[in-house]
Symmetry: C2
Subunit: 417 residues, 2 copies
Amino acid sequence: MNIKEKIEAQAQKANLAAAKLAVLSSQEKNGALMSMATALETGQGEILAANREDVSIAKERGQRSSYIDRLTLNEKRIAQMAEGLRATAALPDPIGQTDYGVRRPNGMEIRRVRVPLGVIGIIYEARPNVTADAAALCLKAGNAVILRGGSEAIRSNTVISRLLAEAAYKNGIPEGALQFVEVTEREAVDVMLKLKKLAVIIPRGGAGLIRHVTENSLVPVIETGTGVCHTYVDETADLDMAIKIAVNAKTSHPSVCNAMETLLVHEKIAPKFLPLLEKAMGSKSVELRGCPHCRMICPNMKAADELDWSTEYGDLILAVRAVTGLDEAISHINRYNTGHSETIVTQNLVSARRFQREVDAAAVYVNVSTRFTDGFEFGFGAEIGISTQKLHARGPMGLMELTSVKYLIDGNGQIRE
Amino acid sequence: MNIKEKIEAQAQKANLAAAKLAVLSSQEKNGALMSMATALETGQGEILAANREDVSIAKERGQRSSYIDRLTLNEKRIAQMAEGLRATAALPDPIGQTDYGVRRPNGMEIRRVRVPLGVIGIIYEARPNVTADAAALCLKAGNAVILRGGSEAIRSNTVISRLLAEAAYKNGIPEGALQFVEVTEREAVDVMLKLKKLAVIIPRGGAGLIRHVTENSLVPVIETGTGVCHTYVDETADLDMAIKIAVNAKTSHPSVCNAMETLLVHEKIAPKFLPLLEKAMGSKSVELRGCPHCRMICPNMKAADELDWSTEYGDLILAVRAVTGLDEAISHINRYNTGHSETIVTQNLVSARRFQREVDAAAVYVNVSTRFTDGFEFGFGAEIGISTQKLHARGPMGLMELTSVKYLIDGNGQIRE
C-alpha cells in the first residue's frame, strides 16, 4: 500500500470504531483510561529507550536546546502523562448530557443531547506527551482519534501510542479507535487533510504548520495556539501592579501561546512607566523593541519595526509602543492580535468595560496576567488546545468542545399540516 | 475595479461595520429591524416590478414551474418577509448572555459571554425572501452580512437589499453591515470563498452549490440543507400510524430538505405494509422504486438501483427497501443518509432507544414525521438553515448558532506562578 491507501485504510477503521465508541458507557471508557495510564508506567523502560534515540538524533541534527527540552521524556514526565490519563477519567462525561428539552404544543417531546464528533485528526509537532493527552480527551468524549506527530518524536510516539492502544483495546475500546500515523513523510499530513471521514482536524504546533493545515484542508479545522498577546497599561494603572503583570506575562514561560508579545502604554504615563519597565525587564534579560516615542523616553531601547507588532517571539523579546489612549490601544490590538489573550491594567471602570467589550479575542482580562488562558486555570480540566477562532470553540478546548449535539424527538404519530 | 477588488472592498467595509455592530444594544438593533420591515412594505411596488422582470426572463429561459414558483414574489410574500423581520426583532438577543461564570481560588472572576461571529457570508439560489430572512438574523445576532444571491433573482435581490440597507443605516446600523454582491458572474462566489475576513460562509441551495462551496472555501463553511431522510417501519409498527407518517413525510412538501426520500420496512411486516403503502402513495401520485424483495410483494413497483438509495429526489418519488431488522435499517441509514432527519415507526421500546442512539443524524424521531425539523417547529423561531454537519451547529440554526463566545476575566493583579 502507498501512503495514501495506508492512511485511508486507517481512517476507514477509525470510522467503524467511532460508531461503536459513541455508545460505550462512561464506566467502560474510564476503565480503559485507567488501564492506559498503568500501561505507560509499566512500559516506561521501553518509552525511555525510544525517546533516547529520538533525542540523540535531534542533537546530531543540531536542534536548539528549547527544542530538545520539549522532546525529552523522563520518569517524571511519563508519570505526568499517566496522571493526565487518570485525571481525564475523573472528569464528568459530556456524552449523553441533555442541555435543552421541551414539549411542543402538538405533544412531541424534543431533547438535545451531547454526542461525539466522530473521528478527530490531531497533527502535532515535537512534544510526545501530546500523544497521551490528546488520545485521552478524544476517547473520553467518545471520539476515535488519528494522531500524526512530528518525525523527530516518531520513535517515542510509536511506542506510546502502541502501549495506549493495546491497553485500550484490551479494555473494551473498539479496535481502530486510537491510531497513530507512523509515516514520517510530509505527504501523510496532506493525505489527512483530504480525509472526508474526519469530523475535524486540530493542528498543534508552530505558525507554519497551522497555516499549511488551514489553507489546504478539506476537513474542518480548529485553529489553536498562535498568540500575539498584548498588555495595555492605561493612564490610571497602578504602576506596581502593571510591572508585576507585565513581567509575569512576558517571562514566566516565554515560549507558550499565552505569553505577552507586545506592551502598549498610555503616552501620559509612559515617562514614569517605561523606565520602571526597562529596569524590571532588564533584570530578566528581556530585550525591548520600542516605537520612536518610547525610544525618546528610553534611548537604550532597540527600534521596533512594523513586523514586530505582529510577531510571536516565543522568547525574551518584547515590543513596546506608546498610544494616545484607549481608542488607539484597542485598534492596535484588533489589528495585530491573533484572537488569543489581551489584558488591560487600569483603575478606571469605563476603560475596563470598553476594553472587554471592544477587544476581539478569546480571553480579555482586567488587571490579570494573560498567562491564565488555559483549561486547568479556567477550571475545565485538561485541554486539547486554545482555539483562536470563533466557530465551534473559542478559548481553552476541553471535553465539551470535542462533542456535538443531536435532537431526539418522541411522539405518537405527529404529522405536519 | 475588477470583481475581486470590488468584493474585497465590500468585505473590508463589512469588517469595520462588524466591530461597531457588535456593541450596539438590542434596542438599537430591534428598532432598525422594525424600520426595515416598513421599508419593504412601502417599497413593495418597486420590489414587484423588479421581480416581474426576473420572472419573465426565467420563463423565457424555460425554467421549471417549481423554480418559477420559488422565484415569484407577490403582496403576500412581501408581507411575510416584513413579518419575518418583525418576528426576528421580537426574539431574545443572544449577545451578552453569560452562560458560565466562576470565581477561581486566586480570586479572579471568569465569565463566558455571547458575542457575534463577525462577518457572515451567505451564498444562495433562487428564493429572494432569503435576502430579508438572512439579513435579519445576522444583524440581530450582531453580525455584518455579505449576501450573494443567484443571478436569476438579481433584480429582486438588488432592490430588496437596497431598501433594507437604507432603512438599517438610517436607524443606527453602521454603514457596510448589510451588503449585497451585485456581481452575477460565478467568479464572485470564488472570490468570496477566499475572503479571510469572513467568519463563516453558509451556502443555501442545491447539492451542486454546497459541494462547490465546501470543496473550495478557505473560510469555514456550515453545510446546510441536503436531506436524504428515511422512515423505518419496524416489525411492531402501528400500520395506520406508519402510513400516515410516511404519506406526510413524502407528500406534504416534497421539495424541502426534511421530506422523506427512502422508506425501509422490516421484512416480516412488509407483506402486510407494502400493499397499503402502494395504495396510499398511489393516491398521491407518488412513484415507488423498490428493492427486489419489495417488488416480489408489489410487482407494479419500479426497480430501485444503487443510486436511488443516495438520491434526494425533492419530488414525488420514493425509494423502498425491505430490511431484515433494526440492525440492517440502522446500517443502511448510516451509510446513505446526509445527517439530516430520520424516523422509526415502532411500538417496541428497545428498538426506539437503539434507533435514537445509533442513527447518526441531526434529528432522530420516534413515531413522528421527519417534516418537523425546522427552527419554528423546534421552538427557536426563524432559522438560517438546517446544519447537517457536527461542528459548531447541528440541526436548525437560529440566532444562537450565529454567535461565538468570549471569556472576560476580572482581577486585582493576579499573576501565574
